[in-house]
């Protein structure tokens, strides 16, 4: 099922054509690929991705380009198999030209040594990207990937219910606690939101806001600070919310959660920019009930976390890095892409001019209150410094495992944090990485 190297070079022999047809057939089996055969003389670039709608972007690119032909293979999403597949392909020296990475997964993929340094290829684009996204693809000051979108966290709330019961929109976490108590008083079955203990990337996003990054690359050493002051404060706050039974424990995206959101048992969601699309799809009948706002802050100082976000890297062993970069530049910066994206989702591009295009193309009508892209823009501006570490993906499962007993009273969030920090440091050292504990100097 691997794409043969012959495909990557130009020229179309009979065998090449057969292989291409077979590859397209295989890709079609996996996830629906609209590609036809490459035009004669075109350089073929292979890409593995799980981004929704990637087939449409690729089709649009191929329709408009004679010199580069992109061959897409849809793979399983991230931790459902995508990362494992890509890592194994890099190890086996048969990786595609373009790999799908998320900001949070980039440093872990970098440990394979399989990505190309794009610092010089992309240097001219720096000013066009949201600073948070640009930092996300440069964990050590070199550029390793092309940013696609950004996913700042946002507070979604039932504006109709908040207004009806005279509950003010919380702007700080203290006000959030007051609002949570008010919601519970109105309806003892309802909660202001859920705090999913099995979602490490959610907790990371919540801690991101507090301003103490979990990792920092300092020269040749990782400073690891998962139990730092800001994260501790975040953990203490949510522990007290759980102890006082002010938040639900349902998992985001589950049937329980969808039912709770629709039936007025959950009055809010601490989500990310992509939740705009999730809400529209999960609870389409809720038009005119929900509004969005930037996240409550710790001390009134604007700050906002991020949960997720996609970028694309070029394989270090790619024989056609220029063609791969040509496609990625188009994908990330061409205004056609957000226009296509807006037909089936609500894209929030990392590229600022493209974000303006997405804003123009947004139809609206679902949310009350402030315009969606105003809130998201403001949230994106507030994102503080953060670097993902080389064990971030694994840490998410460590977090979920360690937080598991919290609901039953087996441990507390701050206690679990101390153990998570120890385990993360031990894991990194066992791999041979250079690690320093505590805040970056």
């Amino acid at each position: 099922m691997e794409l043969s190297p012959a495909l990557r070079t130009s020229g179309l022999s009979r065998r090449g054509f057969l292989r291409a047809t077979a590859a397209v057939g295989a890709a079609g089996l996996v996830g629906g690929c609209t590609a036809t055969a490459a035009p004669p003389g075109a350089t073929t670039v292979t890409i593995w991705s799980w981004l929704t709608g990637m087939d449409k972007y690729v089709a649009a690119f191929n329709a408009g380009h004679k010199d580069v032909f992109v061959d897409l293979r849809v793979i399983a999403a991230g931790l459902s198999g995508g990362y494992a597949q890509q890592t194994n392909a890099i190890r086996a020296h048969n990786a595609p030209d373009i790999l799908h990475v998320e900001y949070q997964g980039l440093p872990q993929i970098l440990l394979t040594g399989g990505l190309r340094d794009l610092t010089n290829d992309l240097a001219d684009l720096e000013s066009q990207y949201s600073p948070a996204a640009w930092r996300g693809v440069r964990p050590d000051g070199r550029t390793w990937a092309v940013p696609m979108d950004l996913a700042p966290m946002v507070f979604y709330y039932r504006k109709d219910l908040f207004d009806q019961h005279g509950i003010a929109l919380p702007r700080t976490w203290d006000e959030f606690r007051t609002a949570a108590a008010a919601v519970k008083q109105v309806d003892p079955q309802a909660r202001i939101c859920t705090f999913p203990l099995n979602d490490g990337s959610f907790f990371a996003g919540m801690s991101w806001q507090a301003g103490d990054p979990w990792w920092t690359a300092q020269g040749d050493t990782w400073a690891v600070d998962i139990a730092g002051e800001g994260t501790k404060r975040t953990a203490q706050f949510w522990q007290s919310m759980i102890t006082e039974n002010l938040v639900a424990g349902i998992v985001h995206g589950s049937q329980d959660w969808i039912a709770g959101m629709h039936e007025g048992k959950l009055w809010g969601l601490l989500g990310a920019s992509w939740s705009v699309g999730t809400l529209g799809k999960s609870i389409p009948k809720d038009t005119g009930r929900w509004a969005m706002a930037t996240m409550p802050t710790w001390d009134g100082k604007p700050a906002n976390g991020v949960q997720g976000g996609t970028a694309f890297g070029v394989s270090a062993e790619s024989k056609v890095p220029e063609a791969a970069t040509t496609f990625l530049r188009w994908l990330s910066t061409n205004p056609e892409v957000p226009k296509i994206g807006s037909t089936f989702t609500t894209p929030f591009p990392a590229h600022l001019p493209n974000r303006a295009v997405a804003r123009q193309a947004y139809k609206g009508g679902y949310f009350l209150g402030d315009p969606v892209y105003d809130v998201l823009d403001e949230a994106a501006k507030r994102v503080p410094d953060w670097t993902w570490g080389p064990n971030a993906l694994r840490l998410f499962s460590t977090i979920s495992d360690s937080f598991g007993p919290v609901r039953g009273g087996g441990t507390t969030l701050p206690d679990a944090l101390t153990k998570i920090q120890q385990q993360a440091v031990a894991d990194m050292r066992a791999k041979g990485l250079s690690v320093r504990e505590g805040k970056a100097a």
């Binding site: 931790l79 198999g81 990362y83 494992a84 890592t87 440093p107 872990q108 970098l110 440990l111 394979t112 040594g113 399989g114 050590d140 999913p196 203990l197 099995n198 690359a217 040749d220 050493t221 990782w222 424990g249 349902i250 998992v251 589950s254 049937q255 329980d256 039912a259 709770g260 048992k265 080389p390 064990n391 993906l393 694994r394 499962s397 979920s400 495992d401 937080f403 598991g404 007993p405 919290v406 609901r407 039953g408 087996g410 894991d427 066992a430 791999k431 041979g432 990485l433 250079s434």
Partner: protein, 309 residues
């Protein structure tokens, strides 16, 4: 494997007679017929096992930030040591042991009782009953797991209201998983037992009846002892299946934080390979798991032969 038996040919080599030629032909035919099996055995079992053994001896070492890529190092038994000393692996083994303690007796006793009932004369609509109990086995495990996960979900599922306890809470999640597995396997083992019961000689049962044994007495003193070898085979399969428990907890993990990512040894292997990206440790853990399975089955088989003597 005894199909091959190549050493028999030389014995007859001295005199060339017709039956000898036939034997040779037969051996050749046997070899040809065994080829598909051998090819599959070699490519899908032996090669992967040997590759896993090879992988388990290596590890990847990184330096500094790690971005310059890994270096493959021979680790001797380092991966085995790190698995054996890993608390998460111990917890996983403990979980499957507890699971087996709940699952094996309830499932086997359940399917044995159902099989005996089917075998006795009192049951009407025999085929309808056996089909009804067998159907869960035909449901894919993931689908069955999802159905149960929805039933278990505290707000949309009915079970919390019926029992008054949250089936996904830390104390209840293990019995909940055992329940899914029991539901899934009870029909399958019932069919196995029922088939074995069909083979119990009628004369013995009639003799027992003539001696005045009732239904219970016949079942306990005649039928169960006769099908004991079948029961032991079912025990072996279930012990191995319990050790390799994976799908049910993996599905429930998406619904509750109480199932950790290393909740069973198989999940530990999955986490090491596909989340942590540590193929050496994953290979070492799967080799250890295979060894434990082999040892346990040997113990159960030993026990069974001793008992039936």
């Amino acid at each position: 494997m005894s199909v091959l038996a190549p050493e028999r040919t030389p014995v007859h080599e001295e005199t060339i007679s017709e039956p000898n030629v036939r034997t040779r032909k037969k051996d050749f035919a046997g070899l040809v017929l065994a080829v598909p099996f051998l090819v599959l055995l070699v490519t899908t079992v032996l090669v992967p096992v040997l590759y896993a053994l090879y992988l388990s001896l290596f590890t990847e070492r990184l330096h500094g930030l790690g971005f310059s890529g890994p270096e493959h190092v021979f680790a001797w038994l380092g991966n085995y040591v790190s698995v054996i000393t890993d608390k998460a692996f111990h917890t996983g083994l403990g979980n499957v042991a507890l699971f087996a303690l709940v699952h094996i007796p309830s499932m086997l006793v359940g399917s044995l009782i159902l099989a005996l009932l089917l075998d006795s004369a009192v049951v009407r609509l025999r085929q309808v009953w056996s089909l009804a109990v067998f159907v869960p086995y035909a449901v894919p495990v993931v689908i069955g797991g999802l159905i149960w996960a929805y039933l278990y979900s505290p707000t949309i599922g009915p079970i919390k209201n019926l029992l008054g306890i949250d089936p996904l809470s830390p104390s209840a999640v293990l019995p909940s998983i055992a329940n899914i597995a029991t539901w899934q396997w009870v029909g399958y083992n019932m069919i196995i037992f029922y088939t074995a019961l069909q083979a119990v000689p009628k004369e013995i049962i009639e003799a027992a009846r003539a001696d005045g044994a009732g239904g219970f007495r016949t079942a306990w003193s005649i039928k169960i002892p006769v099908i004991r070898p079948t029961i032991f085979v079912a025990v072996v399969f279930t012990v191995i299946g319990s050790l390799q428990l994976f799908t049910e907890p993996m599905v429930l993990k998406g619904f509750t934080g109480t199932v950790t990512s290393t909740w069973t040894p198989s999940m530990y292997v999955y986490e090491a390979a596909f989340v942590a990206g540590d193929n050496g440790r994953a290979a070492a853990a799967s080799v250890l798991l295979a060894v434990i399975c082999a040892l346990l089955s040997a113990v159960v088989m030993r026990f069974s032969t001793r008992r039936s003597r």
